[in-house]
Symmetry: C5
Subunit: 367 residues, 5 copies
């Protein structure tokens, strides 16, 4: 019940565009401005250099340190955590000769996922979706720039799901160390997509709880608010994953030289995964709609039952109350009142009426 409680607070409509509109309307196009709505955090840098033989993990003090460390014949993975230090991002992008619009896209953390071939590099914008302990779902933009020399990744906030990739780089298991930057980019995308499944699992669990509640007919007042919240989560995720699928498809069909040969089967696999995520989202949306129908039907059935109880009690007792009212009248000439058998006879009549009513309701299958 804990997550149900958390969900129950009415959630504001996602204020996607607030910062966009107030921050950039009228600004020079191509001027990079950070527009995320998170508290800016100090950007942290990390560099991983590797080839088949060796790997080194470096936490540089400054950008210059990174630039100095570039080496021929190594794959360089520069990861930027936190986009608040715009100057740093711009200088880094400048070093790798990224275009101004690319920098703007990287800094606009509300950008639609996409894949774009810029000739000398490939820009991938995707979303990392993680579930928080309190069952809310968090979206973080991850921009991946694939160059012939390495990969740049830009994350909105610290904390990521790239741990397994780092571990595989460290241990040197599998193809990762042997292949080039585009395979690294694939591995990162793969890990991000794998995370979608655990978010799906979390949403599925929430739906399951709702389903039990709806079927148990003990639906509280906040039921619909919560269910609509889950539906909104599903919709948002669908709207996010849909362009991710398109971006992976664009990558798959790209003829760019930057992508290694032999990457195709892996990209196809990745593509199938995103398709499966979308399939499951459809399943969950159908399930949510079904739960809602069960719930509404249960509300209606409940009302029906309440009405029946009221009607049965009323229709049995109202006529009886009329009868007793009749013999409570004070007319001087009411011959029945003086008969000794009148009182028990009245009881008999009333009993007969009550039983008749009960029989009628039984016949109508109201019990």
């Amino acid at each position: 019940m804990k997550d149900a409680h958390n969900r129950a607070r009415p959630r504001p409509i996602e204020p996607i565009f607030k910062s966009v509109s107030s921050g950039t309307a009228g600004s020079v196009p191509g001027t990079p401005i950070y527009i995320g709505d998170r508290t800016p955090v100090e950007a942290t840098l990390s560099l991983i250099q590797y080839n088949a033989e060796q790997v080194s993990f470096i936490t540089p003090e400054s950008l210059e340190e990174i630039l100095a460390m570039q080496e021929e014949g190594m794959v360089n993975w520069v990861n930027v955590n936190g986009l608040a230090d715009q100057d740093l991002v711009k200088r880094l992008c400048g070093y790798f000769r990224l275009e101004a619009l690319t920098v703007e896209d990287i800094l606009n953390t509300e950008h639609r996922p996409k894949a774009e071939d810029f000739g000398t590099y490939f820009l991938l914008i995707t979303k990392m979706i993680t579930r928080k302990p309190d069952c809310t779902v968090e979206y973080e933009q991850v921009s991946i720039v694939i160059t012939p020399f390495g990969v740049l990744t830009f994350q909105e906030v610290p904390g990521d799901c790239f741990g397994p990739v780092r571990e595989r780089l460290r241990t040197g298991v599998g193809r990762l160390r042997r292949l080039g930057p585009s395979y690294l980019a694939y591995a990162l995308l793969d890990v991000i997509t794998d995370n979608y499944f655990s978010v799906l699992e979390s949403l599925g669990d929430q739906l399951e709880t709702r389903e039990e509640i709806a079927a148990a007919r003990s639906s509280g007042n906040r039921f619909m608010v919560e269910l609509q919240g889950i539906k909104a989560d599903l919709n948002r995720m669908r709207r996010t994953v849909w362009p991710v699928r398109e971006a992976v498809g664009a990558l798959l069909h790209s003829q760019s030289d930057i992508l290694e040969d032999g990457l195709d089967p892996f990209l196809r696999d990745l593509y199938e995964n995103t398709v499966q995520v979308l399939d499951s989202l459809e399943v969950y949306r159908e399930a949510a709609a079904s739960i809602q129908e069960v719930y509404l039907s249960s509300v209606s059935n409940r009302m029906n039952e309440v009405m029946k109880v009221l009607t049965i009690i009323s229709t049995i007792f109202i006529p009886l109350t009329f009868i007793v009212g009749v013999y409570g009248m004070n007319f001087q000439y009411m011959p029945e009142l003086e008969q000794p058998w009148a009182y028990p006879a009245t009881w008999g009549v009333m009993l007969a009426i009550a039983l008749g009513m009960v029989a009628y309701f039984k016949k109508k299958k109201w019990f």
Copy 2:
């Protein structure tokens, strides 16, 4: 009523991704891991070798026995029942030089149906849908690998619907023994698709029962839960058969050398069958929606009827009760009370009111 009872338990949202996410997030892509949610069973192997002249059914003790038995000029059908013994599957796939991603797809029992041409072999992933005696529908993944030398089939659990194909191989009736591996694969697919029809029949029967209940207006409380369960079954089947149709279409339009000439009309027939399954699923979905509307309308009508009974009884007796109340008052100066005709006159007035009310309701067509 037995199946209705079985269906009535609220069913959890299908936990499609639970095992996926917990088992493989972050694992090396291309690493085959069995992720089915069934209790692993010992894998059983079987081999059928045949050509137009002869056929032999072998239940080998080990993989090596199978490999040793391969023979030129014979079609080999290796069937693996149960995927829990991953090592066995991997060794088998290795012998036939299947790629790592293919093995991963075979072991991922939640994979979307698909057909993929790998040049030297053709991978088909489809689903066997069977109905259990308790009217639940079971989905089992069947992977079919078509190579120039024979067919490999991988089934999730023992027990299949390939009996008729084995029988036709044994008796040698029809084209099956004369043609090559791709015709065998077609025959297996055909038998799987034929089974869809019997599942459809079962779902149709369940719908028919619901329809009668909805029309008979004796709908119990669990009606909607059960109906939504059938709808979920229909949706799940549709989502499964849709990519199967795509896969068969891809097979039909494939230019692969592995597929024999002359297979086209059979594949087209198979394709038409899957289209017809999808058509019927649409019919059943419409029927389910229609049953729901009839049910909801019947609930509403029922409520209406309850309200009418309450209203008729109340509106007839409430005024009468008022009148008898009037003459139950204890005022000292109530001239009516002393008239001998007052009591019968009151009865007359009350009768008139009651009859007037009844006439009013008759006019309003409430009876």
Copy 3:
């Protein structure tokens, strides 16, 4: 009201697949098996031979008689009524060298309408839709095989709508006698499509009756069941005519030599007719949805009215009953009871309350 009565019986979900699944699952593909669900009737044969100069109508005793009568320079129309005699059908098809899958398609009376070019002949599967006197709609499969020498037609049951074509052949009016087999096939399709319109008319009439009932607000209990029945009829017809349209389109765009030059405008006309049937089915579906909304709104309004009557009567008399109850109490010290003006004053107060209530309801526009 007669047809309404006929429709009211709850109709089972169409058991499309019952016979399919039980009869053919696991059978050798390409093995023709009759799977219709009608009582098999003796197949009857008829042959019409014609060219521009002459025409002869023959009712042959046996298949051999037909085969012997084939003549150069004549168009032969062989019509088979009733598919129960599979052997006859197979021998006939064998004579015209039809493929086994074609024969299977002809015998499978639940086949989806389609047009398929087999090189030496053209197979058309379509549905004859007729309305029975009791307003039910009957579907009968008609397979038309166009060969360079003539046309074969296979009908599920005796009784067809080809009378006008036969009459035109007899009288020799129009192009029919001058042109070849493909024009004959067109003429048959045209007559079948024309029949769709009269079925549409029948369904439209039924809808009209329902519309009047819904608007008259005297909707009985079975209204929704009947309306859903009509909707199911419309849906089934749409699902049948949709592939017919596709088949005619395939015929129209076919490059087959079997089709005469100059047939195009006629096929286009036929195609437009099927489009118009589908258009009208959409109109009727919208009309049915609209009728349902009117009905549901009328049920809701009716409930509202019932509630209002109950509320008006209750809220007027309940307070009055309370007042008369007060003066029915037996307290010894109730000063009002002894005043001679008290009784009429009580009446006055009660009248005032009643009038006040009525005024309130008038203001609320409840009357």
Copy 4:
């Protein structure tokens, strides 16, 4: 309120196919038969001949007169009003060498709008939509045949909206007199499309009235019937204009020599107009759906209010009536009855209960 009243009669489902089916099923294809459902009127002919220099308006007595008047270097516009005189139509079409199927299309006044290139002429079938003074919408088929020598127009009934075109021909303003037959056809189509807008306006007005009624919560019984009538009008118009759009698009993309060079921008403009009509129809359909939702919500709110009044009155007075009933009992030993303070105390208790109830309802925000 006048139009609302007119609309309120339940309207029969459009009997589109009645005349089609009864009139032509089984007739020889390509046999022109007039199938309109209007009372046949005498066909009237008119001829307008013009070039840049001169224009003459002729009302010929007979077809022959028209034929005799044809002149080189002039654009001839022959307008036929009323299709009942089939012989006349057929002779006219014969003179211009129109094909039999074209004549059939012209006479079938239920034909779907279309544009078809017959090589030597262009057939356009469209619908004139006009609103009658009583707010009903009338559909009239207009067939336009563009030949190199002039334009033939066939109208179902007398009375058209071509007045402005005739006026422009008379005055010689603009391009009309200088350009050829296809520009005249464009001008006629343009005027027909312009009329769609005024019908839209009329439907918009009707919707507006409904919207006010729905929002004012004084919805009468016929509200839904009327609203569904407007929705049916919108649907019918959409179904009519949709193929008109397609026909104009076909005209726009046609390569026919019959169409003058330089017509393209005008046809594009016409096309944009039909798109805008369809856009507006979508707007109105959404508006109608919205009005329906407001109405249903208002019905539901109203019911809620009625229930509240009933509940408040009942729950206040039912306990009080019970109390006064208690002291109306005739037990011999009821000590309260003899206390002088008992009567006022009872009133006090009852007042307290009533006020408590009122406070409870206030807290629940029922007032």
Copy 5:
């Protein structure tokens, strides 16, 4: 609550076509007529001339002044505010050799957004969407003509959102001054699109308020009217932005020489922005649908609660009232009346009944 109040007035259906139909039906096509429904305002002209080195802002007295000022090597931006002075617009368009249909499109302020290549110039019709202080949304047509020498902009009414562009021209920051007319057109479109986001924000705020109201279950009577108003705003905006997206797409894929090389990335960015606006509109539409469902469910729950209160009170007191009625009867032989324990015993029985009822309701979870 202020904006809620403003929204509550029932708004008329948008009278899009009123002026169109009454003003232009039957007019000569290509005749420019101003058809906006705003009070005509004096047209004001402004001219901005710039190149990389210099910029001059001119407010000319007359059209001739503008024409005289045209200069080689400068980009000229002529802005016309207010379209009422048709003669001025026509003369200006004539000077730049725009076609008559272009002028008609510019003056038709209800034109669908579009992009059209006229060879020597490019016509863009788009809509400026602004939110007024009273939360209404205003649509203003902006026509942009891109010629090799400069840009013409036509606005329906004075007051625009081009301030930031003018400022950037003045200060000379960024690419704007260095690049040609098509970049200026892009900058104007960009600013217009940026404004969409702030309108979205406003609509999002309104939705948020509604969501809180729906969840708080204190929904007033006008709730649905207001919600439908917001939905209508969302629909209208979607219908406006959809063709804007198409127009930008047409611009992006245009091969016209008028568009500078290197504009592509900027246009792609603009295109992505319009896609994102449409995405958000879908989000808001879903949110509005969700709010409506919560509201309707809350109305239904409320009704349920009201019914429960009524039923509980009625079913407790109706039987009790019957009992006290029994002992209010005046039969002479009612033995209970004379027993001293009868009165307290009756109270006991009544208490037992009341407690039993309460226990029953507790068990049914009605409290």
